[in-house]
């Protein structure tokens, strides 16, 4: 046991740069695998509902707008999303119809504004060809 064993370390830090980051003024970069908010590329979605089935927070909702025209509506409830990116893993298309962005400042004062929805026509299974002429993506939110 030694008196003031910590002293040299303390005094050394008096002349060091702070370890903390002055957050709202300076920002750190996110890593490349960061899981932000999911979003849909509607021209690629084949409505297999794999994302809806596997979403642990039940935050993805797909409903048929018009069965005959194959028009569907996907709602992502971002207020429920837990940012696990399982929807991206579950998505069977290449390239993936479900994508994830790298934004992290997600706070909002109204949870209704966090809801995002897309109304789109179901894509055909081979998405390598250019998007079908009927495919009209119109994000309504």
């Amino acid at each position: 046991m030694r008196i003031a064993a910590f002293l040299p370390e303390l005094l050394r830090h008096l002349f060091k740069k702070p370890a903390t980051v002055d957050y709202p003024f300076k920002k750190l970069e996110v890593p490349k695998d960061f899981r932000g908010t999911p979003y849909l590329r509607p021209e690629l979605c084949i409505v297999c509902r794999a994302c809806e089935r596997d979403c642990p927070a039940e935050s993805i909702e797909i409903t048929a707008v018009n069965e005959a025209e194959k028009r569907f509506r996907m709602v992502i409830h971002n207020d429920r999303c837990i940012h696990c990116a399982q929807c991206v893993d579950s998505c069977p298309t290449t390239p993936k119809a479900m994508q994830i962005d790298s934004l992290y400042e997600l706070a909002a004062d109204d949870r209704h504004k966090l809801k995002k929805d897309w109304v789109y026509v179901r894509a055909v299974m081979k998405p390598k060809a250019p998007a079908a002429p009927t495919a009209s993506s119109e994000p309504t939110a």
Partner: protein, 323 residues
């Protein structure tokens, strides 16, 4: 003229305005040093370098809701913060910074003012105990019991350590003690041991780590302050800030040679000397973990008091040798 001087003394310097401004500055200094020692930033954004942060905190608390517990003794509960503030501010007036005449004792500087000051500095502890007791909260009660228990530990070494330079100087008047050591600066080295004893005792008096036992938040929530909120808490916090200034000023006057040379020169010496003491206090705060109340008592009686007695003996022997 004398009336104006007295008014200036009471209100501006070193009266309430100076004490308020300088105590918030000392709190900022303490927080900044503490943060930098821990590799953090400390207050940064309120005012330049965050200088206005303690004042902002003070005004924020003033605007907060003030809750008085139903079971508490309401009159006592409400009046205690004001008493505490008044007591430490009065002690602040006795600091020999300005407006004292070495030849003629006045009401701000008189033989025995060191004793008066030490007693005035003891009163906030009693105020704190009464505040804790009148809150009736179980955590406050434990905190109050701890305040008193600690008082019995640190008070004796503090008195012994502060009085030994006075014995060497042969005066019970702060201004004369300071003047004595200004003439013989080498004698200050004799009191080095006493300075460290007094420093640790002051740390305990101010209830800062390692002696923040009465308001140890991880043990007894807010301890003595559990039930205090809003304006009353703001006043208590200000009390502790001013006590920090006054206690460091006392140590600077007794152990570091005081502040001679009138208002301006005195001020120029007052600031670095007190900041040095505050820095040492911050260093102790960063260096240690909180100890238990039984450990405080045994530490105070087994280590601090013998050291203070040793200092006293050395001083008496030296005094006999000098005369």
């Amino acid at each position: 003229m004398a009336v104006l001087r007295t008014l200036l003394y009471l209100v501006v310097y070193p009266g309430i305005i100076f004490l308020f401004a300088y105590s918030t500055f000392c709190e900022w200094f303490d927080r900044k040093i503490y943060a930098r020692l821990q590799n953090r930033m400390g207050p940064t954004h309120t005012g330049r370098f965050g200088l206005l942060q303690p004042i902002a905190d003070f005004f924020k608390l003033l605007a907060k809701e003030d809750v008085v517990p139903e079971a508490a003794d309401k009159r006592l509960f409400s009046v205690l913060p004001a008493i505490g503030l008044a007591v430490v501010s009065t002690a602040g007036l006795l600091l020999p910074v300005w407006n004292f005449d070495l030849a003629v004792p006045g009401w701000t500087s008189f033989p025995g003012d060191i004793i008066v000051m030490l007693y005035l500095l003891s009163l906030p502890t009693l105020v704190l105990f009464l505040a804790a007791w009148s809150s009736t909260n179980i955590f406050s009660t434990i905190g109050g019991a701890r305040v008193l228990t600690m008082l019995f530990g640190y008070e004796v070494p503090l008195f012994l350590a502060v009085l030994s330079p006075a014995i060497l100087a042969g005066s019970w008047r702060l201004a004369e003690i300071a003047a004595f050591y200004q003439h013989r600066p080498l004698l200050l080295l004799v009191n080095l041991l006493g300075f460290f004893v007094a420093l640790i005792a002051v740390q305990a008096k101010l209830e800062r780590t390692p002696f923040d036992i009465p308001d140890a938040e991880t043990e007894i929530v807010g301890g003595t302050f559990t039930e205090y909120s809003g304006k009353k808490l703001a006043l208590f916090r200000l009390t502790f800030d001013i006590e920090l200034v006054v206690a460091s000023g006392l140590l600077a006057a007794v152990f570091l040679g005081g502040f001679p040379g009138g208002a301006v020169l005195g001020f120029i010496q007052f600031v670095p000397k007190t900041l040095f003491v505050v820095f040492l206090l911050s260093l102790i705060r960063a260096l240690t973990a909180r100890i238990r109340v039984d450990q405080v008592i045994s530490f105070a009686w087994k280590v601090l008091t013998p050291l203070a007695v040793l200092q006293l003996l050395a001083t008496i022997l030296l005094k006999g040798f000098l005369t």
